[in-house]
């Protein structure tokens, strides 16, 4: 245990020092909020995956759900995640790039005006602060249980480390640390799978024990179960979760999108997003498949697990030797810290770009906004720490996060799809659609008693879509010059092909004043279409065997 403590401490010190060292090179808001637009595609790949995996959405919560419900939890990794990454990478990112924005609400503002973007920013800021508080709480709780160290000092150390490197280095430091965390999670925590499979006699061994000896339902080994499944009915996973929630998350979550906006070219942004589907698929082998074997291990070792969220921690604590346990703690901390830093950086960007610069301090110098960004980062981490005592009631926080996400993601997908694919969608229509969709999400949850998150998202998406169309048709169409370059163009090839990329680079360069680069055809092994096709084929094979 002593050596594990040293490894964990050393890891935190290294991150702190590297963040401070990196911050010396940050000079203006583009450096701070968009990492000087320097990130190559593999940075984006690692960073997006690490952003997506946290304590809430990864090892502890997803692993815990897999322990309880089985392979259905892998639908995030083997079906919807890669689908969302590839679709967002190929279609949506180009629109954000072309409009030369810092935040997703800025795109909504250019397309629909201030009203909707302000509502959207505000909703996400609440979700972000709640998420940071929940991640800090889970991280400190995890270290307390494993290393037996006090809760509050641990929480302050975690907040101090992640807060310092994000506050000082901005997106560049966050991306850098996320890549470190990506490597540690991918290489450092993968051995658990092999150790467990060795312990229980392979995947066939797990199936044999659970299906024949324990008489577990065969649905425990299905990624897309039938419609009567109490946790995740298959058709609803496809409709609500995949088409609305995951796609909305990938195309509308500021942390996910901001990493792409920090790319050195549009092609790097697109390829990075598509390539992130590879670690996403492998993620199931880090925390889903091991947790399916966990009940057998616990029963053989006589370990009692009171809460499914605690299952992963107990598993590594009882199975791994010293040193290796330290590396796993570093891996799990990586998951939490990467999520916190990305959300922290994104929320400060939104505070400055969507509120401060727009309403409070227009036309100030770039240096002014740069300093304000650092102050905003500090304010957000401080607000999140203050929220932790409330987060101590974890169920309340999970309920709040899920309710807010259901309120935001369904309506967002409704207005985003219409923004891009229907020129006639206008400001009054989008605002009426978004607010009605959000209100409808609350109504069906609170009054009709629908509790499944992705059913709520689906219906709020449908309502938003319809209301936006009706109100837009009843009011004046948007001016042509106002929406130029922000909507789908008739020529499909022009949009996704090289012509569009050249045009996008040109537009982005004008808006952001970055030097224009010559676009060269990428080598065959970096061809976006090959990567997307290969990844989709892997998903089909996985669904064929486990669907």
């Amino acid at each position: 245990m002593h050596s594990d403590f040293i490894i964990t401490g050393m890891y935190l010190v290294l991150m702190f020092a590297a963040g401070l060292f990196f911050s010396k090179n940050i000079k203006n808001t583009a450096d701070y909020f968009l990492a000087a637009r320097s990130a190559p595609w593999f940075w984006i790949m690692g960073s997006i995956w690490a952003t997506n995996i946290g304590f809430l959405h990864g090892y502890l919560a997803h692993g815990g759900a897999a322990y309880e419900w089985g392979l259905i939890q892998a639908n995030f990794e083997w079906f919807q995640g890669p689908f969302g990454y590839i679709l967002s990478g190929i279609f949506f990112i180009a629109f954000y790039w072309r409009s030369g924005i810092f935040t997703v609400p800025q795109f909504l503002e250019r397309r629909y005006g201030t009203g909707l973007s302000t509502v959207y920013s505000f909703a996400w800021l609440i979700i972000f602060v709640v998420t940071i508080a929940a991640e800090l709480y889970l991280g400190a709780m995890f270290l307390k249980n494993i290393l037996h160290i006090p809760f509050w000092p641990t929480l302050f150390v975690l907040a101090g480390v992640v807060g310092t490197y994000t506050l000082m280095g901005g997106l560049g430091a966050a991306i850098m640390m996320e890549f470190v965390q990506f490597v540690i999670m991918m290489i450092g925590t993968m051995p658990l799978l092999f150790i467990l499979l060795h312990f229980v006699g392979g995947f066939a061994g797990i199936k044999n024990v659970l299906l024949t000896q324990w008489a577990v339902s065969p649905q425990y080994f299905t990624v897309l179960p039938d419609i009567h499944h109490p946790y995740g009915p298959g058709p609803w996973i496809i409709l609500g979760q995949c088409l609305v929630v995951t796609l909305g998350w990938c195309a509308g979550h500021q942390s996910m999108v901001q990493r792409n906006l920090g790319a050195r070219s549009l092609y790097d942004a697109k390829l990075g997003y598509v390539a992130a589907a590879i670690p996403k698929t492998l993620g199931a082998f880090l925390y889903i498949v091991p947790m399916i074997a966990a009940p057998i291990v616990f029963s053989q070792l006589g370990i009692f697990v009171e809460k499914s969220d605690a299952a992963y921690g107990k598993l590594i604590l009882h199975l791994l030797p010293q040193g290796m346990l330290g590396l796993f703690i570093a891996g799990l901390l990586s998951a939490g810290l990467s999520s916190i830093s990305s959300v922290l950086n994104s929320s400060s960007t939104m505070v400055i770009k969507d509120f401060y610069e727009r309403f409070l301090a227009k036309g100030k110098s770039d240096h002014h906004y740069f300093i304000a960004g650092r102050i905003a980062t500090f304010g957000i981490i401080a607000a999140s720490i203050l929220l932790v005592p409330i987060v101590l009631k974890v169920y309340l926080i999970m309920w709040l996060e899920q309710t807010l996400l259901a309120m935001v993601l369904g309506p967002f997908m409704g207005v985003l799809l219409l923004a891009i694919f229907w020129r006639r969608a206008n400001t009054p229509g989008s605002l009426a659609g978004f607010l009605t969709g959000a209100a409808f999400a609350i109504f069906i949850q609170q009054v009709l008693g629908i509790k499944i998150f992705f059913q709520i998202s689906w219906w709020s998406f449908v309502v938003t879509f319809l209301v936006t169309i009706v109100v837009s048709l009843l009011t004046a169409p948007p001016k042509k010059e106002k929406i130029e370059g922000l909507t789908w163009e008739s020529d499909f090839e022009a949009m996704v092909g090289e012509i569009a990329e050249k045009r996008a680079e040109k537009t982005a360069a004008k808006v952001r004043e970055i030097p224009q680069r010559t676009i060269t055809r990428p080598p065959w092994y970096l061809n976006l279409k090959y990567w997307a096709t290969a990844i989709l084929l892997v998903q089909i094979v996985l669904l064929f065997f486990f669907g």
Partner: protein, 76 residues
């Protein structure tokens, strides 16, 4: 308003690569030194060596790559 000139993107990537390499290398070596490899069961030892070795190798590659890039950027 006069704006500060931004950082050189190539310098940023070089520093990021070097920092990533140093962190991974240091962490990997620390885990290797602090792990009681002799007392581990052989399967655990193999897994521990593979994962730690992998992290050290990636760290080494990034540290060397970052150092070379940094030298090249500073020369210009």
């Amino acid at each position: 308003m006069e704006e500060k000139k931004g950082a050189d993107p190539k310098l940023i990537v070089a520093i990021q690569m070097l920092s990533i390499g140093i962190i991974l290398l240091t962490l990997g070596i620390a885990v290797l030194i602090l792990s009681p490899l002799r007392t581990m069961a052989s399967f655990l030892r193999l897994n521990s060596l593979l994962s730690t070795g992998g992290i050290i190798l990636v760290g080494l590659a990034f540290a060397i790559g970052g150092y070379l890039r940094l030298k090249r950027v500073k020369k210009k």
